[in-house]
Amino acid sequence: MADNIPKKPDYKLIGQNYVLPDLVAKVTGRAKYAEDFRAEGMLFARLLLSPLPHARIRKIDASAALAMPGVVAILTGEDVPKPQQPPGGDAAQRPNTVPEVALATEPLYQGEPIAAVAAIDELTAAEAIEKIKVEYEPLPFVVDPMVTLRPGGPNPRAEGNIWRPPQVQEFKIPAAAVKDLDEGRIPFLEDTPIRWQVGDVDAGFKNADYVLDETIVHQSTGHQPMEPRTAMAMWRNGKLLLYGSTQSVARTVANVAQWVGIPEKDVVVISEYTGGGFGGKIPGAQTMAIPALLAKKTGRPVQMRISREEENYIGRARTGIHMRVKIGFRKDGRITAMDMCVIGDCGPYANQGDAGTVGSTATALYNPESIRFRGVSVLTNTPPRVSQRAPGGEQASTMLEPMISKAARHLGVDQVAIRKINAPITGTEFGPPPAAAAGGGRGAGAAAPAATAASGGRAGAPGGPPAVAQPQPAEQGRATGRGQQAAGQVPGQQPVAAAAPAGGAPRRAFFTSAYLREALDKGAELFKWEERKLRNGQRIGTKVTGVGVGVGTFTAGSIAMDGLLLVRPDGKLCVQTGIGNLGTGSVHDCSRVAAEVLNFPWEKTEVVWGDTSKNLAWSSPQAGSQTIHAHTRANHAAAMDMKQKLQEIAAKKLGGSPASYSVANERVSGPGGGLTFAQAAQEAIKLGGKYDGHEVSDDLNAMTKTSAAALAGQGLMGVARDNYGRKGNTQTWVASFAEIEVDVETGEYRLVDYCAVADCGTVINPRGLAAQIHGGGVQGFGQIKSQKWVYDQRYGVSLANRFHYNKPPTILDIPLQEMLWAAVEIPDPQTPVGAKGIGEPAIAAGAAAAICALNAAIGDDYLRRTPATPSMIMASLDAKKRVDEGLVTHV
């Protein structure tokens, strides 16, 4: 195996720490976030939110509001374009989705915007909103998925309460299974929209030495980025200039166009800095349409700031999960069978794939010898769910890892060892069998960890529907056609048989590289696991120590994006990138690859980003941990194109063959002498054609072509689509270790120490990587410890709307000592630079390690839901049995 691992090249920039070019602007406050933009004559907008969880708006009387001095315009649901329904099929077959729009006429959750007022200042707008009279027709509502699933339970929408793609339908738990609910168990439901099986599950359980059967509840949690999704809009010469807070820049244009109802060519998105999104701002936000439409209506620029409370509603949330899981283990800890039934709460609008992803993540974590999976996405009248950092992956680790820990303790197997014996390796197949992935499972998101293949990644091309929010399942055929290597065979593991017959039949998705075992080994060494695990259960006074391991995994990269580079006649290298600057640094990290390939000084490299009028390349969404993979590839491709052109220009000018010229130190040199980059750029302009961008490859995305055409003639252009291809799916793993101290007389606990190791391929920027690994870990502690999402079921209203109620983790909730980290640093063999994404799996590993450490201290049978609050621990320890809210959600 070691022979297949590419040797680490001798990089100059890749793998080195550097000062991000936007750092000074950020720390000095010069960086302009959406709220910092001002324009002449700008108006301010504020929102009127629905006080009811479900209602039809009969009438809005804004006459008193509009009569107020300083009030300029009002916008309601009637003024907002409805995004097109997906075309095709007869009406009965067409998805009966209710598309989420900026302002609702039938609000489906409390806090959904229903009207907006533009006025000369926010105070006037707020006073005007108080004068608006709304007549509501209250409609049935439900905020708890377990309530709507009960026979006779209310439905959140007229069409039903679950997603059976492409339809919303009614689904009730059979009367015979209600007893399970009453006893706090999720039944193993039949006829769920997502159903698949790999291997012989019944035999797997028969062969098991130990079987666990548990019901676990994972809460929904708000995304809570530091910057709320403010937007400012103005119209210039028929074009919309939208200054917004978005994770992705290139991939926000199509969505804004849809929400505002204008062609994409008329949209300019400006977003130089974004204060985090965690998945909640992948393509921007529906609310961007409001200032845009108000600006159109009033003929003046309009800014709409979003408050923290509004962010709590429209800022979206992670899907809450109810899971029943049965796991069979052999004596050595190897998992012989898993049987899962997963219910995901996806809010009132689109189907959100977390429930299905929990199943495929289970296979990516444990490669079980057999698995049966059943999943369903339930609708509720609560804010829309959308991908939040490792959507489905975080829930899988947080809910399953404590079960693995419990089994290890029962079987007397070391916690690191049990995770190693079940770990996948390079080539291991995962997820549903091909038939399920390609059929009904696809829409259900069952194969969500699969990375974006060419077609999926380009679904958001101009003219198509809004850009996909997260990676779509890979084309199985594509992976199969190229992937001839055998499924990864892990020592100690029996081959895992796919349900589909072998020999020419489509394979399941498989991993391009997987070094979880190496991550576990490295982490165990760094954390001194062998020494530290002896402290487990140690009690000093009332404080008991627990140490735990947790693993997390998530999809880590798409392919087939574009890179666009320009060497100007002054010799500067410009990287034109459509990546959003969402706080991860990837906009710059990926650009470093272009300078690396061209052996060009980083100080003279200019990254052009954050404004779609600045001729940027088509980009992946900044989601699904795709970017570092997709855009190190795309920039590599563009830089190789530029290198080739430099060699050709030198050969033309100075004689000899292009291959005899080399590129380094801002020069292309060879037998006939050399040219500086500046001279080469001037030559390129003289030569025209492909050299200065007048001719570009036809396989580029339309956005890249438009940008290239605008830059043509300004210098030497390097531009290419990433056609490197790949065999398999790119996936990253993180192994985390935590030590926790619990006060058994109060239930209070604190994280004493933490360490995490990532298998994310080549390290591009160590400092940035550390921030992702530990940022994710800390967010994970919040998921299991303090962060809350609370509803009163009688009124269907959110209660924890402020930071001091919903409690995300703070800097003082992390260990006092420095938290260690490392990377496995084995490059992924299926991508030229070898880098895999890292944005997501660390939250899963962090949450899992912390909760496993907590269980190690207090016992394995007290905690079956998140957050594990001191109150729950106190009540359970006092009663010497589990005391919690059972299956009730949003508590």
């Binding site: 504020r46 929102l47 009127l48 939110l49 006080p51 926010e122 105070l123 707008a125 707020a126 006073e127 909103i129 108080e130 004068k131 608006i132 009279k133 709304v134 408050s307 923290r308 409370e309 509004e310 006074g541 009332t542 007389e745 109060t746 239930g747 209070e748 604190r750 410890k785 303090s786 609370v790 509803y791 009163d792 079921q793 009688r794 009124y795 209203v797 209660l799 709307n801 402020r802 930071f803 001091h804 109620y805 409690k807 983790p809 703070t810 800097i811 003082l812 909730d813 957050p867 609050t869 001191p870 109150s871 729950m872 106190m874 009540a875 320890l877 006092d878 005391v883 809210e885 508590v891």
Partner: protein, 335 residues
């Protein structure tokens, strides 16, 4: 009227420089006036437009309200607008009344302690999320308690002394001040009155719309901590979900006078279990004359929670309060 939050309504702002001016402003505008100290309680109310005073009096310019000075009897007088950080770090407070320094140092977060004042911390309104969301409950002048219905989420609410309203007092310094027999100095246009801390805080059965005895026109000017409990054996503990920026699930403040291993006198006060800090007089009486040991501590803990009435989601407060009181009395307890 449609509801909108997060935009502070307009009001008339006064920034007096003396207590005398403040009192005359309070008197003149007593129908609709709001006193602003650190702003941590105030700005939530104002920004959410759930309280709409016509006049706000900002105390930040009244320098005579801030500072800590020794009194002739060996105690301290702490100005109402003295910051919590100053109290937590003050040498005399730490030396004699470590209980208060400890409690002040556990309030919220470092930033909030820099801004927040002692007077504000003891005068703050409850954090019941139904009430603070603007629901017209008993405390807001309505006729229902939304936190005490079959579907209410009331993990943070009261296990004692509920009377229609089940909200709790969230202050960390309040139980410490009650334990120390602190005296609250209140002035208004007609003069000054001094109220013992224990009587300063009131429950819903006294007045469901207020947390303290303060009436319109009143100004809390200082808090006197007498020498009575100086250098007693103190214990303060606060249990919370996060390690910072959190109100107590339950907190406990105790002061013991011990001689020869026996407890001569005790003060034990618990907060966040009722609408006012609860002084446990029965426990105090039972402790007098007892040897300080595990048995006595256990007895105190058990006695402390007698009569507690949990709501749907706050049953954990009973063992938590019991254990906190037990720890406060234990011999090895260190504050």
């Amino acid at each position: 009227m449609a509801t909108i939050h997060d935009v502070m309504p307009a009001f008339e702002l006064f920034q007096p420089a003396s207590v005398a001016d403040t009192l005359s402003l309070l008197d003149r505008h007593r129908k609709s006036v709001w006193v602003l100290a650190g702003g941590l309680d105030t700005f939530d109310w104002l920004k959410d437009r759930n309280k709409r005073p016509q006049v706000v009096i900002d105390l930040s310019g009244v320098t005579e309200l801030s500072g800590i000075k020794s009194t002739a009897d060996g105690g301290l007088e702490i100005g109402a607008t003295t910051s919590l950080t100053e109290i937590a770090n003050h040498a005399d407070v730490k030396a004699k009344f470590g209980l208060l320094a400890h409690a002040a140092g556990l309030v919220a977060s470092p930033q909030i302690r820099n801004q927040g004042t002692l007077g504000g911390n003891v005068s703050q309104d409850t954090r019941c999320w139904y009430y603070r969301s603007g629901w017209t409950c008993y405390r807001a002048g309505g006729n229902i308690c939304y936190a005490d219905t079959p579907t209410s989420i009331n993990r943070e609410h009261a296990i004692f002394d509920a009377s229609r309203c089940v909200a709790v007092n969230p202050s960390d310094t309040a139980p410490a001040l009650v334990a120390l027999d602190a005296q609250m100095v209140i002035r208004n246009a007609s003069g000054e009155r001094v109220v013992p801390a224990e009587e300063f805080f009131i429950g819903p059965s006294t007045d469901i719309t207020r947390m303290t005895v303060m009436l319109p026109g009143d100004l809390l000017t200082s808090i006197r901590v007498p020498a009575t409990w100086a250098n007693a054996k103190f214990y303060f503990e606060k249990v919370r979900d996060r390690q910072v920026w959190d109100f107590p699930l339950v907190n406990v403040a105790s002061a013991l006078k011990i001689s020869g291993g026996k407890i001569d006198q005790a003060r034990v006060v618990v907060n966040a279990v009722a609408a006012h800090p609860m002084r446990l007089r029965n426990v105090e009486a039972a402790l007098a004359g007892k040897t300080q040991n595990e048995e006595t501590a256990t007895m105190a803990g058990e006695m402390a929670v007698q009569g507690a009435q949990p709501l749907a989601h706050n049953g954990y407060k009973i063992p938590l309060m019991r254990n906190l009181v037990r720890r406060a009395i234990r011999a090895e307890a260190t504050s």
